[in-house]
Symmetry: C2
Subunit: 273 residues, 2 copies
C-alpha cells in the first residue's frame, strides 16, 4: 500500500483530553493536517473494561481510515493501554500511543530509578507503564497513583486553584513519601494542571509530559517512514474536529486550550462504525 504523505494524521481520545496531544503535534509538526476524533458520547474510558475499550477504538479507527489518515495517534492513555497492541497488527499505517514515548523518557531521565505514574483508575490499574519501564530497565521501581478528581477539576476550569492544590497534595503525598525523582503525567488532561503538580512535587522531581514526547515520537516515525508532509497542499484550516456527542461543549473546551478558534466541530454517530 502506498501511503499519501500529504494525508492528515488521525488523533483520537475519549473526549477533550487528547487535544493536549493534538496541540503538541500542531506545535512540533506545523505542516501536518490533523483529523481529531473525541468520543464525547462514551467518555470516560478510564472506568471501562479492556474489551469495551478495544471495541470503541476499532470503531474510531474505522472512521479515521474513512478520512484517509496516514498515521494514527491514540491520544488517550486508557485506549493506549488496552487497545494499541490489538489494533496495531490490524493496520497498515503507523499507529502510536501515548504510553511508550513517556515511559522511554522517564526511563532515561530517572537517577534513583524510582518513577511515579499518575492517571485514571483504568490506566494506573492496567500497570502498563510499569510493564514498559521494567522492560526498559528492570531496576526501575514504579509507583502508580490514580487521581480520579483531576479530570473533572480540569474540566471545571479550576486550573490554578487552592482546591486543586489541596486535592493534588493529598493524591501526591504517597508518591513524595516514596521519594520518586520522575513523575509521568499519565492522563492527557494533566498537562493543564502541570504548574499545580510542579508546585506540590517541587523542582527536584522531573515531570514527564507524554503529550509532548508523543509528538516528538510521531515526528521521528514519520521521518523514518518518509511520510512527513511536503507542505505543498496548504489548506486554510488544516485541522478537522469530530465528536460523538455535544459538539458545542467540545468546542468551548477546545477553544480554551488551543491557540485559535475551533470553527467547525462535526458530530458523528460512532456506533455505526
Amino acid at each position: 500500500m502506498k501511503i499519501d504523505r500529504d494525508a492528515p494524521i488521525g488523533v483520537f481520545d475519549s473526549g477533550v483530553g487528547g487535544l493536549t496531544v493534538a496541540r503538541e503535534i500542531m506545535r512540533n509538526l506545523p505542516s501536518e493536517k490533523i483529523v481529531y476524533f473525541g468520543d464525547t458520547a462514551r467518555v470516560p474510558y478510564g472506568s471501562k473494561s479492556r474489551e469495551t475499550i478495544i471495541r470503541y477504538s476499532r470503531q474510531i479507527i474505522r472512521f479515521l481510515q474513512e478520512q484517509q489518515v496516514k498515521a494514527i495517534v491514540i491520544a488517550c492513555n486508557t485506549a493506549s493501554a488496552f487497545a494499541l497492541d490489538a489494533v496495531r497488527d490490524e493496520l497498515e499505517i503507523p499507529v502510536l500511543g501515548v504510553i511508550e514515548p513517556g515511559a522511554l523518557v522517564a526511563a532515561r531521565e530517572t537517577r534513583n530509578k524510582r518513577v511515579g505514574v499518575i492517571g485514571t483508575i483504568g490506566t494506573v490499574g492496567s500497570g502498563i507503564h510499569e510493564d514498559f519501564l521494567r522492560k526498559l530497565d528492570p531496576e526501575i521501581t514504579v509507583f502508580g497513583k490514580a487521581c480520579p478528581l483531576f479530570v473533572p477539576l480540569v474540566e471545571e476550569g479550576w486550573l490554578h486553584d487552592p482546591i486543586t492544590f489541596e486535592v493534588a497534595r493529598r493524591y501526591l503525598r504517597e508518591l513524595q513519601e516514596r521519594e520518586i525523582d520522575t513523575l509521568i503525567l499519565g492522563c492527557t488532561h494533566y498537562p493543564l494542571i502541570r504548574s499545580t503538580i510542579r508546585e506540590v512535587m517541587g523542582e527536584g522531581v522531573r515531570l514527564v509530559n507524554p503529550a509532548y514526547e508523543s509528538a516528538l515520537e510521531l515526528k521521528r516515525l514519520l521521518t523514518e517512514e518518509d511520510l512527513l508532509s511536503t507542505g505543498k497542499e496548504q489548506e486554510e484550516f488544516p485541522y478537522r474536529f469530530y465528536v460523538s456527542d455535544l459538539a458545542d461543549k467540545f468546542k468551548s473546551f477546545a477553544n480554551s486550550i488551543l491557540p485559535y478558534d475551533v470553527e467547525m466541530t462535526q458530530k458523528i454517530d460512532i456506533e455505526n462504525y
Copy 2:
C-alpha cells in the same frame, strides 16, 4: 394486560448513583423485589445529549421488560429529565422518574418561593425542575447550579471531608446569596454528602431528597394500581443487580452504601437491546 403484582420493580440509573433510590425503596417497600440496572459502560449521562439518553433508556427498558418487571423507576435525574415523557407513552406498566416527586415536595415546603436545584450539567441545563415547579406554582423562582465535582468526590469516598466541604461552599455560595429556603438534591449521588450540604447551607434551608420522595411516590402508585406485592413469594435474596461494565467495581460501591452485601452482579451487553 394483567400485571403480576409479585413481579419485581425495575430500577435503573447511569451507574451506581441510583442505588440511593433502590435503598429508599428497600426501606419503604420491604416486601418488594428489585431488579437494578446500572449503565456503568456508558456513565455519565449528565454530559450527553437528549437523543442519546432516550436511546440508552429504551435499551435498558427492553432489558427490564425481559425481566418481567411490574413497574419502572428511572433513578437517574438526567434520564428522568430527557427520557421519561418519551418512554412513558410506550409502556403499559407504571413508570416514574425522580424529578417530579422531588419537585412536588419542594413546591409544598417552600415559604419564600425561592427554590434551589443542584445536579449535573445535563440535569440543571435541561431546566426540567424549573418547568415542573413553575407548573405547580407560577410564583416560585428556581435557581439551578451544576456541581460536576460532587459525583467524583462521592465516588472517591470523600463523604465527610474538608475538600468536599470547600467544593460545596464554592458551588453553593450563589444559592445562599439568592436566599433560597428549599434545595432539591437533583442528583442521586448527592444524598451521600447530604450532611456536608446541610453544614454549608445551614438549618434554615430545607433539603429535598428525591430518592426518598420517589420511593414514597412509588408506594402510592403501586397502592393505587393494586400492584403492591402480596409478600407471598419470598426469596432468599430479592434484589438482583445488573451492569453494563466492570461488575466488580459496582459491587464494591454498592456494598459501601447498601446495608448488606451485594453477592451477585451480572454484566449485560446492553448495546444488544
